[in-house]
Amino acid sequence: MHRPLCARPTSTPGTRREFLYGLGASLGAVAMSDLLAKENAGAGPLAPRPAMHEPKAKACIMLFMEGGPGHMDTFDPKPKLNQLHKEESKLTQGLANGFKFFVGSPFQFRQVGQSGIEMCDQWKHLADPYVADELCNYRGCQAESLNHPEALFHMNTGSRLGADPALGSWVTHGLGTMNENLPGYVVMTELAMPQGGPGNWSNGFLPAHYQGTRLRPEGTPILDLNSPSFKDRDHLRRSLDELAILNRKHSASHPDHEDLSARMESYELAFRMQMTVPGAMDLKGESDSVREMYGLNNKETSSFGRQCLMARRLVEQGVRFVQIFSGGWDSHDYLERGHSARIQSVDKPMAALIRDLKSRGMLDETLVVWTGEFGRTPDNNKRGGVYSLGRGHNIDAMSMLMAGGGVKKGSVVGGTDELGAKAVECVHPIRDLHVTLLHLLGLNDNKLTYFHAGRYKQLSQFGGKIISEILG
């Protein structure tokens, strides 16, 4: 069953609308009829739409650290916690029962760049002032679910249930896409899909066009994109021609059935997409120095680096929302090893992404967000009877980074208590973060609504507040 991958043609995407998207969830869907309607009327579901107010960013790249990075081990130093290392903790967060003890961070912290933003010594590339001074570190966000899939759903869709539209779906619903030859909302995952799977980039009750398109890291980028290897393009062309004849005859006897022509056109689009999709994913055109910068030549960083580079290319070509998942941050034990390996795998690519966007003059219009689904606790319980140096899930505090598109450069917003147990300054729930991100993209959460099941639904569910401290 292992088909050799078809040689990827390197044709440049044509100027015509050749691509249809929303191939997400497990492969997604897009109503052709709407697209055809667009051809006729000049405005389809993915056509670019004006923002609701002057936008700061035109596109968003979200780097999602699945598992929940420890804020006190990345960007939020807690010297007091280090002093209490291995002393008993009476904190009551999380689920762990029994004896708990504090865990100091294994990493040293330092201030970097002109802004003096703090980060642990594991961040080597991100610490470069050219990059670091672009960052805004937000420490005030609080999550609500202690469990991974629910928390992932919440951060991605605004709801813990995993059936609502994702942030990226709302954004493409609100703004359309700037290049209708590419999907408006692209998702890339590592090795395995994150917990909760496609529910994290689902269009929910929004039309299928707004579903995240998962570009598969290996194999065919989109399932069944290619013909079986023993059928060439001429074979396909001939078959599609025969199919069209059959369908035309059928349409003639059902002239009032509008779905028929949409289905017929979808085959022609499929024929063209076989060429354009691989073209969009091909990194051959990137220079050696760019490849090196993103870490493509190194085993530890090549996977995430490749995705970051793809993200830049996609945004450059007009994609509205790109999301990359990086797993393995759930360090309940051996945090030093776990987090340092994870940081290493994303540090260089992230820094390269920001540097690259900045030097191309794209950073101002691109909002980059780095986050997990929650933060981690200052303490841990004994595991297997041993003082295990890791951390539990913490919904009361976390740390995220933002850069570009209208955020306050070189700033730290919000703060956690002296142990990192709870956010205490500029505290906001996830819905406020969502409202803020939409705001930066020129959308008003209260007006970006969709009537479904008896009420106007919105990303924040019931409205939220803009975190104005983040705005530049």
């Binding site: 869907a29 109503a31 052709m32 689920l95 399932l223 059902h254 051996y334 390996a341 008896g454």
Partner: protein
């Protein structure tokens, strides 16, 4: 207004308007941000008083200009006409035109602001009148505020709560035709003519069986139609209703609403190993034409029916009765009832990383909402946190229904297999699972041995006596080897994977045990018995225990409020049988009868919702749309019925004749309306006047559902095997997806391994394994709904990825080859093969032009394939997985075995057949991709 209080005569209408309309709106929509929280007053604008309004805020001094609405920013804001001056800011809170008008009139009247006592007089007087021009007050058990309790509903929004009324139908009229014709009245166009008989047999067969008719059946039907069309039609419907495929088709509609899946979803996505018994129960129930009221009661309270039966049968009570439950000593009938309670276990649920009380709340909230949607088309979820915003559902009623389930505990219960259940494939299945389980256990033991060897060494080096891993647990860190001693990150990662595998395969062995996913009554069991992996009925239950039920304010467990007793939806106006006049909607406290009482209330013939809801669903599956367009929501925000009189007439008829489905199908399908063509002579007019076909002047074509598509492909290729029920079937799915890593807690979920033999795989789609975390990509693409949400209506948008799947997928290649082989077997030459292909796929003969073209096509393709090399296809017997080890953040890999492929009978592949067969497969693929194949007319 027209409403005047005697003592208030002479006072301005403005004061009255303010008291009854304006003030409640201010309170509901403005005060929260503008005054209620003195610490945080938005825009420094306090609307709590007239003075505050007149004073204005940060951005406006002209908030209220007496007598001049156009100059008052308050008024301008609520009209939403100016950018950046839109209040209230949320779409959902936006005022209606009538409400805006009230503000306008009030400001024009000088904006009087009577004090609270005066306002109270106005409201008291108003509330004494049940029906006013503003709507009517509906009696319920009462909201959390008087404003809610006495709010008014538009009469049309209460349609579903009115008693079912049966209107007269003139004799000799078919009731369906009568109501449809009457509603269309003089719209200016007629109904479409009758469709052709070959169209009708296909329509009817798909509707009732989800499959196309056999070519021979079509021939026979057309002959019968010639001689007596009426009789031919009746005979056809009877034959279809008698087919066992009928239950397989109609059960699917029910399972869409009930959210059937074979796994629990979320983190672990643990298998619900016995869910298949519930699926088969539903199929059986439809085939046996079980009256709907029984069907409902069994699913909600089958275990309580079984308890009653045991009491009667054995005279057992209390402890002795519980022993019967614990040991699962049940008769056929009792077992059937118990299997039915699988309904209460259908929602996605997992206990991982959730505290027990919260996990319990999540379960109960899900059940309550599911019961509301499924049986009552009522959105109860909204009333979890507050009185319902649109419908007469007080949050009190939510918690009264919640209380009806308060003692309902999930458990995998012992229930003997039924004679009617299919236990085929058990032996092979067990052997496979045993193999997978022992592989996991062996690999795990290997790691543990390695660890213990290192531990032994550690103790030896310190001259300390060796202690096993459990025994040394409590020692201080210095006195014992480190955790995972001797294991590097690869070993540790593998250990966790194998441990999770062991849990997964142990669980799957339960498929073959006489267990059900069911419920029982009792107190919350100890936490360790209540986690998703293994839930069992407690050996002893405290029979005196009664749950304490309260309203959780805002839906929060941390905010228990007023106590409630179990009860029903008061807004329906149907008392619980045997309840007192004081509280007619209350259910007896006795734990073991609560659900049964609720279920009996639901199927009480006076209940205005239950029968209407199911009749509407049946109608929907014959016509594509329900008479009421939101089959899961009959509330104010759901679509109103297009033909309320027809819906009521059918509902009354349904109830009067034993609540049976087959009779209802006959009634509907015998109408002229059902037999209408999709083509209409006045299409231009129709498109203009009724583009959505609300008046049903023609039949609306529909695309095959995902299940119909797969089943029909197998049917046409001759591969479909008609086994009934049993443990889930594993078809082949896209291999990339089957083997793709999928995260679950601690590990990657095992790969999808298909059933070994074609006859095991190629069964109807309803029998296939349904994993929440892994939708079959082919079915998903054709809009099979997610089982995480109740699906009231399927979608069918035509999208490009469907073209990829239908042209390029292995599934389609295999079906096409199978059909090609059938053509070669059953037809001697190319002309006959083309003819047969058309008959099998499209149910008709090709015309002369098609014949010519497609024979030519096959010949050309034969030449093409003669020159094309075919790649060997193979199935891997094991795969290497890699995963990030959590503790070290490093990647490790491990082997996963796929024993199914060691002895596997694949479908025939392109490489197994000569060029002509491949060319015929191209023809088959062409027809499978055609619009004619995909749509039902």
């Amino acid at each position: 207004m027209g409403l005047l209080i005697p003592s208030a005569r002479g006072e301005s209408e403005g004061a009255q308007l303010f008291s009854l309309k304006v003030y409640p709106l201010l309170k509901a929509k403005c005060f929260a941000c503008h005054g209620e929280d003195p610490e945080n007053i938005e825009g420094d604008l306090n609307l709590l008083s007239r003075e505050g309004m007149l004073k204005g805020g940060e951005t406006s001094r002209e908030v209220l200009v007496e007598g001049k609405p156009e100059e008052s920013d308050l008024y301008r804001a609520i009209t939403w006409e100016e950018e950046a001056l839109e209040m209230p800011p949320k779409e959902n809170d936006r005022l209606s035109p009538g409400q805006i008008e009230d503000f306008r009139n009030w400001i024009e009247a000088g904006a009087p602001w009577p004090d609270e006592a005066r306002r109270r007089q106005y409201t008291d007087a108003e509330r004494a009148i049940a029906v006013t021009a503003d709507g009517e007050i509906l009696n319920t058990s009462g909201g959390q505020s008087d404003e809610w309790t006495y709010r008014r509903y538009l009469p049309e929004d209460l349609w579903s709560l009115r008693p079912v009324v049966r209107s007269d139908v003139p004799e000799k009229n078919h009731p369906v035709d009568f109501f449809i014709d009457a509603r269309r009245g003089n719209a200016g166009y007629d109904a479409a003519p009758e469709a052709d008989p070959h169209v009708l047999i296909r329509r009817a067969t798909y509707d009732l069986l989800g499959l196309p008719p056999e070519p021979a059946e079509v021939v026979r039907f057309l002959e019968d139609w010639e001689s007596d069309s009426g009789k031919a039609w009746m005979t056809l419907i009877d034959r279809l209703l008698d087919s066992p495929h009928y239950g397989e088709r109609w059960a699917q509609h029910w399972l869409d609403v009930a959210r059937y899946a074979d796994t629990g979803g979320y983190s672990n996505d643990y298998e619900r190993s016995n869910a298949w018994r519930y699926r088969d129960y539903v199929i059986r129930s439809f085939n046996r034409d079980k009256p709907y009221h029984q069907f409902v009661v069994e699913q909600l309270a089958g275990d309580q029916l079984a308890d009653q039966s045991v009491r009667k049968r054995l005279g057992k009570e209390g402890k002795a009765l519980h022993e019967v439950r614990f040991n699962g000593e049940y008769t056929e009938q009792e077992s059937e009832w118990l299997v039915a309670t699988g309904f209460l276990r259908m929602g996605p649920w997992d206990s991982a990383m959730v505290k027990a009380p919260e996990a319990r709340q999540i379960y109960l909230d899900d059940v309550v909402n599911s019961v509301g949607q499924t049986f009552l088309a009522t959105n109860l979820r909204c009333a979890k946190c507050h009185d319902h915003k649109f419908d007469p559902i007080p949050t009190r009623d939510y918690y009264r229904i919640y209380a009806a389930f308060a003692g309902t505990q999930m458990a995998e219960r012992k229930v003997p297999f039924l004679k009617s259940e299919n236990l085929g494939g058990f032996k092979d299945g067990q052997a496979l699972v045993r193999r997978l389980l022992s592989f996991a256990t062996e690999k795990k033991e290997l790691m543990l041995r390695k660890q213990e060897d290192a531990a032994r060494k550690w103790f030896e080096e310190r001259d300390l006596p060796y202690l096993g891993s459990q025994k040394r647990r409590r020692l201080p860190d210095e006195e014992k080897p480190p955790r995972y001693v001797g294991l590097d990150h690869v070993d540790q990662g593998r250990l966790k994977v194998r441990e999770q595998d062991e849990r997964i395969w142990t669980r799957r062995m339960e498929r073959y045990e006489p267990l059900i996913q069911g419920v029982y009554d009792g107190p919350d069991p100890p936490e360790k018995m209540n986690r998703a992996l293994k839930m069992r009925i407690a050996e002893k239950v405290d029979r005196v225990w009664l749950p304490e039920s309260v309203i959780y304010s805002g839906g929060s467990l941390e905010a228990p409020g007023e106590k409630v007793s179990p009860g029903v939806l008061s807004g329906c106006g149907v008392p619980v049988k045997g309840s007192g006049a004081e509280d007619p909607y209350r259910i007896e406290e006795d734990l073991e009868g609560r659900r049964l009482a609720l279920a009996r209330w639901i199927v009480d013939p006076r209940n205005p919702l239950t029968a209407r809801v199911i009749v509407n669903r049946v109608w929907q599956h014959h016509f594509g749309k329900g008479l009421a367009g939101n089959p899961n929501n009959f509330g104010a925000k759901g679509k109103k019925p297009t033909h309320p009189l027809l819906l009521d007439w059918l509902t009354a008829e349904f109830m009067e004749h034993g609540w049976t489905f087959k009779r209802l199908h006959r009634l509907i399908m015998n109408s002229r309306v059902y037999r209408q063509s999709d083509r209409h002579p006045d299409m231009e007019v129709l498109r203009k006047k009724d583009p959505d076909n609300h008046l049903l002047a023609r039949f609306v074509p529909r695309r095959l559902t995902a299940e119909e598509l797969r089943d029909t492909l197998l049917f046409a290729s001759g591969e479909l095997r008609s086994g009934r029920g049993g443990v889930p079937v594993m078809p082949e799915i896209n291999q990339e997806v089957a083997l793709a890593p999928r995260m679950i807690q601690f590990s990657i979920a095992p790969a999808w391994q298909p059933s070994r033999r074609p006859f095991e795989r190629n069964r109807r789609t309803i029998y296939t394994y349904r994993v929440r975390g892994l939708p079959d990509p082919f079915l998903d693409l054709f809009n099979r709904p997610s089982p995480n949400e109740s699906c009231e209506e399927r979608h069918s948008a035509a999208v490009t990825p469907q073209a990829f799947a239908l042209l390029n997928s292995d599934v389609m290649t295999d079906r096409s080859i199978a059909l090609a082989l059938r053509l070669r077997n059953e037809a001697a030459d190319l002309a006959r093969q083309v003819e047969l292909a058309f008959q099998l796929v499209l149910g008709r003969s090709p015309d002369a032009a098609e014949h010519k073209r497609l024979q030519r096509y096959v010949q050309d393709m034969r030449t093409y394939h003669g020159k094309q090399p075919i790649p060997e296809s193979s199935y891997p017997t094991s795969i290497t997985r890699s995963l990030v080890e959590e503790l070290s953040g490093k990647i490790f890999s491990y082997e996963e075995i796929l024993p199914v492929y060691e002895d596997y009978t694949p479908d025939q592949k392109p490489g197994d057949v000569p060029p002509l067969t491949r060319a015929l497969a191209d023809l088959a693929l062409l027809l499978f991709n055609s619009n004619e194949f995909l749509y039902i007319y």
